[in-house]
């Protein structure tokens, strides 16, 4: 039993942090925040290419594809530190598409895509959700008709977040329209987002970020862009979730540390807020829950490093961590009181308006990538064998 990093891992962690801090620019930090921590903007691409050059974007990949053959613990640690230090930390290509290609893609596809992904050269946008297919992805309708040498795509995607700054769409489409079980007619393909016939329209979230509606009208996709076999897409998609569902708390852990600093520095009634019993209890409780999340998070890496596949544990970590983000921002707003409402560019704003901003963004964390309700179903059904 061992709950700490090894000496080497600790040293590596320091190296990562130092490198990030050295290479971070205010422009990159602002871009990341403005875009809702997604990757693909020009500033983010600059620093990520440097990080990728060190193998840190895809540390667990084989060296031949640009990885380090490193452990999952190391990989998880890097992502946590990237989030904590204000970098984008979720990469569709490196963390979802890449592993799927490694596992299910043809040799040609591996050669074509993996080096470009691991070097940080290309980014994908997730192409799952549709207006009528949210929690229930099997209901997706975007049609891909087999036209011999290509597929012809028609339909709509909704809330496909990175499409306006990513290069390719990691797209789930319907290739069989008459199967009795709808999930059996789904395929995965890689689509150039600059393809003729694709219209990307912005949707603005309450947090001020952009997400997108994407309309496909007679878009031609070459056959070689099909991932794995036709009609097996739902299986790939679900398998990827098993491997990749996780939520690094990093950015919110950073916010918590800033709230703690604020409570210690802010004097009301002649003593720091941090000496008020109610505030102490609230912050102590959050620090406990952050520790709980750390254990749940690295448990996933531990399971993978042992050669296993996280079962319900990913759902548990995702749910616990994302619900915690809302408790952190709630307590932050409580502690800031009337100051909590002031926006970044307002006189008297505290912590650069960060608490207010994160308070807004935390709302969606328990909804995207599988709602808390779906996750609890999974925990009960997969983790405890209760009936579907």
């Amino acid at each position: 039993m061992n709950f700490e990093f090894t000496k080497e891992e600790k040293e590596f962690q320091e190296e990562v942090c130092e490198f990030i801090k050295k290479e971070s620019t205010p422009e990159m930090l602002k871009e990341t925040e403005d875009q809702g921590e997604i990757f693909g903007g020009p500033e983010g691409r600059k620093i990520i290419k440097k990080i990728a050059a060190k193998g840190w974007l895809t540390p667990t990949w084989p060296k031949e594809y640009g990885g380090l053959d490193a452990s999952e613990v190391v990989s998880y640690m890097i992502r946590e530190e990237m989030g904590y230090n204000g970098l984008p930390f979720g990469f569709v290509a490196a963390h979802m598409s890449g592993p799927t290609i490694i596992r299910f893609g043809s040799e040609e596809m591996k050669k074509a895509w993996l080096p470009r992904i691991s070097s940080g050269e290309v980014e994908f946008a997730l192409g799952y959700t549709e207006p009528q297919a949210g929690s229930d992805l099997s209901a997706l309708k975007l049609r891909a008709e087999d036209k011999g040498d290509h597929f012809l795509l028609n339909g709509n995607k909704l809330f496909n977040t990175s499409c306006h700054i990513a290069d390719y769409h990691w797209l789930a489409v319907r290739t069989d329209f008459d199967v009795p079980k709808p999930y059996k007619g789904i395929s995965m393909m890689i689509v150039d987002l600059k393809s003729p016939g694709i219209t990307i329209s912005p949707l603005i979230t309450m947090a001020g970020w952009r997400t997108n509606e994407v309309v496909y009208e007679d878009v031609r996709v070459p056959k070689e862009n099909l991932v794995g076999e036709v009609n097996k897409g739902f299986y790939y998609l679900m398998a990827a979730l098993d491997f990749e569902r996780m939520f690094p708390l990093g950015i919110f852990r950073r916010l918590f540390d800033e709230i703690v600093a604020y409570a210690k520095e802010t004097i009301i009634d002649g003593k720091p807020l941090s000496k008020k019993p109610l505030i102490r209890q609230k912050l102590a409780q959050l620090s406990i829950e952050i520790e709980v999340t750390r254990l749940l998070y690295y448990q996933l890496a531990h399971i993978l490093d042992k050669g296993g596949i996280p079962n319900y544990q990913s759902s548990m970590e995702k749910t616990f961590a994302t619900e915690l983000t809302q408790r952190i921002t709630n307590v932050g707003m409580d502690i800031l009181g009337l100051y909590g409402q002031l926006k970044e560019d307002s006189k008297w704003a505290q912590l650069k308006g960060k608490v207010e901003r994160y308070y807004l963004t935390s709302v969606v964390q328990t909804i995207v990538a599988g709602t808390s309700e779906i996750q609890r179903n999974i925990i009960a059904q997969r983790g405890l064998g209760l009936p579907r």
């Binding site: 409402q341 006189k347 309700e373």
Partner: protein, 377 residues
């Protein structure tokens, strides 16, 4: 026992609902958030013509002679429609302060102007300590012959940017008891030495920093008695707290409707979203938060309106409604899913306003502490 509004109140409610559904659509609400003024003259005048500004002012002051409970009916509907603008600051905060000051001259001078929609007044109460207890009043008003000289900074002053008059809560005497020595001054917003800076808030309402730099005020501009202003502010805070509760209840009602629209229309896994037990239980909890918030708000408003002792009930209500409506909105977001996170979905309006309303005039922790006193702990 009678939990219901009377017939006139029901009429008022329906009229307000009808009017606001036409004049204060969600798009307008969003526009006003971006607008520097935060209200249109047109809407303000229409509301004045409906008698809303003067609803609870006496008839001899140009008002309708309604009760505080009538005002609560209105505020609930304003919360339902997210009405922007200075109604709360001018009517609930300033109007109540003027009424409670029992200064007939001031009432005759100011209330008709407010009732006719010709004047914006606000209350400059909180400071950088951002709290509502009397010991947090440090802005000083120094006697200088028949005048007073005010110095200091007021923060989070609602609608300060458009106020014609500002009621400044200032300290005129350092006493042992912190609630002694506080005086209310009506200050012309154009007075020399006043500087207003607008603050951008996440709820989109307009707040200002108001700096008083040697501002000269005549002693005829004192509201209530010198040094005894806090007793007025206490009553104002009670009415304002329950006013915010009414807004939250109205907003909660709308949030529930938005959830039900989604739950009864959207399908996932081949059935209506609203047929999932998890969604049903979210909805049941939303309704429980809403009903209990409404009942508590009505009871407190009724007690205030009847002049009954109400300190305990007011703080119980503000604590309960602030927490409950925040929970209600969180469950609403969770039930609506991704769509509800979009700017164009109205739920986000209620998310932001409910959070702000929960903090104004004391959050749940603050009011629970008052309740603890009230129940003898």
């Amino acid at each position: 026992m009678d939990y219901d509004f009377n017939e006139e109140q029901e009429l008022l409610k329906n009229a307000a609902k009808g009017f606001l559904s036409k004049e204060c659509k969600p798009l307008f609400v969003r526009e006003m958030e971006e607008d520097t003024k935060g209200i249109t003259d047109e809407l303000w005048q229409k509301m004045a013509e409906l008698g809303w500004m003067g609803l609870m002012f006496p008839e001899q002051c140009g008002g309708v002679g309604g009760s505080y409970l009538d005002l609560i009916v209105l505020l609930t509907e304003m919360g339902y429609s997210c009405l922007p603008g200075p109604f709360f600051s001018t009517v609930v905060l300033a109007g109540t302060t003027i009424m409670e000051s029992e200064n007939e001259e001031m009432k005759q001078k100011l209330l008709p102007e407010i009732a006719e929609g010709k004047m914006f007044v606000t209350l400059a109460l909180t400071e950088t300590t951002a709290g509502y207890s009397p010991d947090m009043i440090s802005v000083k008003a120094q006697k200088d012959g028949n005048d007073f000289i005010i110095n200091g900074t007021k923060l989070f002053v609602p609608d300060a940017h458009i106020a014609n008059q500002i009621i400044c809560v200032a300290r005129t005497k350092e006493g042992e008891k912190k609630e002694d020595g506080i005086t209310l001054f009506l200050v012309d917003a154009n007075s020399k030495g006043i500087e207003v800076t607008s603050l951008k808030t996440f709820a989109g309402d307009k707040m200002g920093e108001v700096v008083f730099n040697n501002v000269n005020v005549s002693n005829t501009n004192v509201l209530g008695e010198i040094d005894k202003g806090w007793s007025i502010i206490k009553k104002v805070l009670q009415k304002a707290s329950i006013g915010k509760c009414a807004e939250m209840v109205g907003g909660g009602q709308r949030a529930l409707e938005l959830v039900l629209e989604q739950a009864t229309e959207r399908e996932q896994f081949g059935v209506k979203v609203g047929s999932f037990q998890a969604v049903q239980h979210h909805c049941a909890n939303i309704l429980t938060y809403l009903d209990t918030s409404r009942l508590m708000t009505r009871q407190a408003a009724w007690r205030i309106s009847e002049g009954l002792p109400c300190e305990r009930e007011v703080s119980m209500t503000k604590a309960w409604v602030s927490d409950s409506c925040r929970n209600l909105i969180a469950l609403s977001h969770q039930s609506v899913g991704g769509t509800g996170f979009m700017e164009e979905h109205d739920l986000q309006l209620y998310f932001r306003r409910t959070k702000a309303a929960g903090v104004y005039f004391g959050d749940a922790d603050y009011h629970r502490e008052i309740v603890a006193d009230a129940i003898g702990l």
